[in-house]
Amino acid sequence: MTEKQALRILVVDDEKTIRSFLRASLSAHGYNVFESATGAEALEKSVSSHPDAIILDLGLPDMDGIEVAKGIRKRSKIPIIILSVREEAMDKVTALDAGADDYLTKPFSTKELLARLRAVMRRLLPSNKEEVIKVGRLSIDIANHQVKVNEKEADLTPTEYDILKLLILNAGKVLTHRQILQEVWNKSEDLEGVLHLIRVTISNLRSKIEPNPDRPTHILTEPGIGYRFHLEN
């Protein structure tokens, strides 16, 4: 299932061989690939080459990739997928809070990258924000605040509904605990103290919409980071 509408991808990495296999693989799947090897060039090309998504390495020679992500986020909402050898949860949270959509640890397979790319790009498609979103046996009517599982209306609390809506509208993207807290509870301070609020709500939500709440297939946990809504089957 490839998307053949020649979406434009900007690949930012200082390693030539990494750019080269990304170009090969992305072009073969119908993407139009642009490259840059430095942060400054990436910031410039993120405007001039009108990319639809950016694949961004964190370890750039001239500046930290986090700064590049922040710089891009100031003016644009294009999906950013971070590549990095750093694998601590803290590093991922920092990148996601800086506005990145997803985070992939090197080494990774091109298949994994393509899947993540499709997921973040799906948000770009003229989305059914006012209509009914259907995922498997789940359907969400955004306009009418209605969630159905197997055609039966699920009884969600307003908070559960807010989280589900937030996750679905950002399907494919990892949302950090801080981002969820900010959007749903409108709180930004004291993350540790209210982390359990998110956990409990997610757990209740799963028991209402997941076929098997112990092995969720829609709302996936990113350990130490946050949650992601999974659209693909």
């Binding site: 090969a24 693989s25 073969a28 370890g59 090197k106 080494p107 091109t110 298949k111």
Partner: protein
């Protein structure tokens, strides 16, 4: 077989004690100057300062030596009757004992603080090293994994040229990974003090020739000028390890200079040493980095296309020092850098 000499370590161990003795001497001279104006019990404070300095700087051992020497010097020179260890007034005995106790306590406290500081620095350094190693190992691995998974992806329909490029990618990066692992291994052996070199008389030409052969592809059409006098003596060295040294240095020279410049290798023998200079006409070494480039994992700010492990030069240094020699770097007057190796002939 020569095992890396420990003499340097011993010199480093004695040095703090010598400085401590020097400190006590300085305090005694100072005490001599003011002993008619100050009570001897006040002069004791200067000695206490010496104890604190050596405790913070070098730890407990030198500090305790400083304490004992201070009491002896104080008694001998500054407490009447002068120039004898006998004491006129009993109160000085209490001063001595109090000083010794205070000296030991202060030195223990100060050296503990110092140890904690060192430990914290070591931990920081270790985690920086680990990060650096993990970055250096994962980057080529990422290229290999990426290239191979792109090739394995049956949906992709890559053309032949791209397939070849990806295979070459994977091959090149495997070689890079192999070099890195080799360097890390060498480094570990060196750190453990287990580097065993066997010095046998070698023709410098042969060693250089073998290194150049390994670098054949990278050198390509580039001009490498070798200047070795006809009567140049055979040098006692470990062929395989010296090959690594020349490989690293010439590889660096190639990397940091443009393709149209030449690289000069010049050998001279001076009395009991031989000197080998490798000169490029490249971008040179940033001034502040000249000393640090031999530290492991240290890398200068460099153009983005130049890759490296940050280990090559520190390995060179380890090998040359195991030969009893020295390696230094300097910038040329016009452009580029020169690495100078000296190796003793005996």
């Amino acid at each position: 077989m020569i095992i890396m000499q420990k003499t340097k370590n011993i010199r480093e161990q004695i040095y703090p004690y010598l400085i401590s003795i020097g400190l006590v001497l300085i305090m005694t001279l100072f005490g001599e100057l003011v002993k008619r104006k100050l009570e001897p019990t006040n002069i004791v404070m200067f000695y206490l300062l010496a104890v604190v300095i050596s405790a913070i700087r070098w730890g407990q051992g030198p500090a305790i030596v400083t304490s004992i020497l201070s009491v002896l010097a104080f008694d001998f020179f500054l407490v009447p009757p002068y120039l004898t260890l006998s004491v006129a007034s009993l109160q000085y005995i209490f001063t001595f004992i109090a000083f010794l106790i205070v000296g030991v306590v202060v030195s223990t406290l100060a050296s503990k603080t110092r140890e904690q500081l060192i430990q914290r620095q070591t931990e920081k350094l270790q985690s920086a090293l680990l990060n650096s190693i993990s970055h250096d190992l994962r980057t080529p691995l990422a290229s290999i994994t990426g290239s191979l998974t792109a090739l394995l992806d049956s949906d992709s329909g890559l053309d032949d040229a791209t397939r070849k490029e990806l295979l070459e990618n994977a091959f090149e990066e495997s070689a890079r990974l192999n070099r890195l692992v080799g360097n890390l291994l060498d480094m570990t052996i060196m750190e453990a003090g287990a580097l065993r070199i066997s010095r046998k008389p070698c023709e410098l030409r042969d060693v250089l020739g073998a290194s150049l052969e390994q670098l054949k592809e990278k050198i390509g059409p580039r001009n490498i000028r070798i200047d070795i006098p006809r009567d140049f003596p055979e040098v006692p060295m470990d062929f395989a390890f010296m090959m690594k040294v020349f490989f690293n240095l010439i590889d660096n020279a190639l990397k940091y200079s443009s393709a149209d410049t030449s690289i000069d290798i010049k050998a001279t023998s001076i009395k009991h040493d031989v000197k080998i200079e490798i000169t490029d006409q490249g971008i040179g070494i940033p001034k502040g980095d000249l000393k640090r480039i031999f530290e492991k994992f240290y890398r200068v700010e460099r153009p983005q296309q130049i890759t490296g492990t940050g280990l090559g030069l520190s390995i060179c240094k380890g090998i040359i020092e195991a030969h009893g020699g020295q390696i230094t770097a300097q910038n040329n007057r016009d452009r580029g850098a020169t690495f100078i190796i000296t190796i003793p002939l005996n």
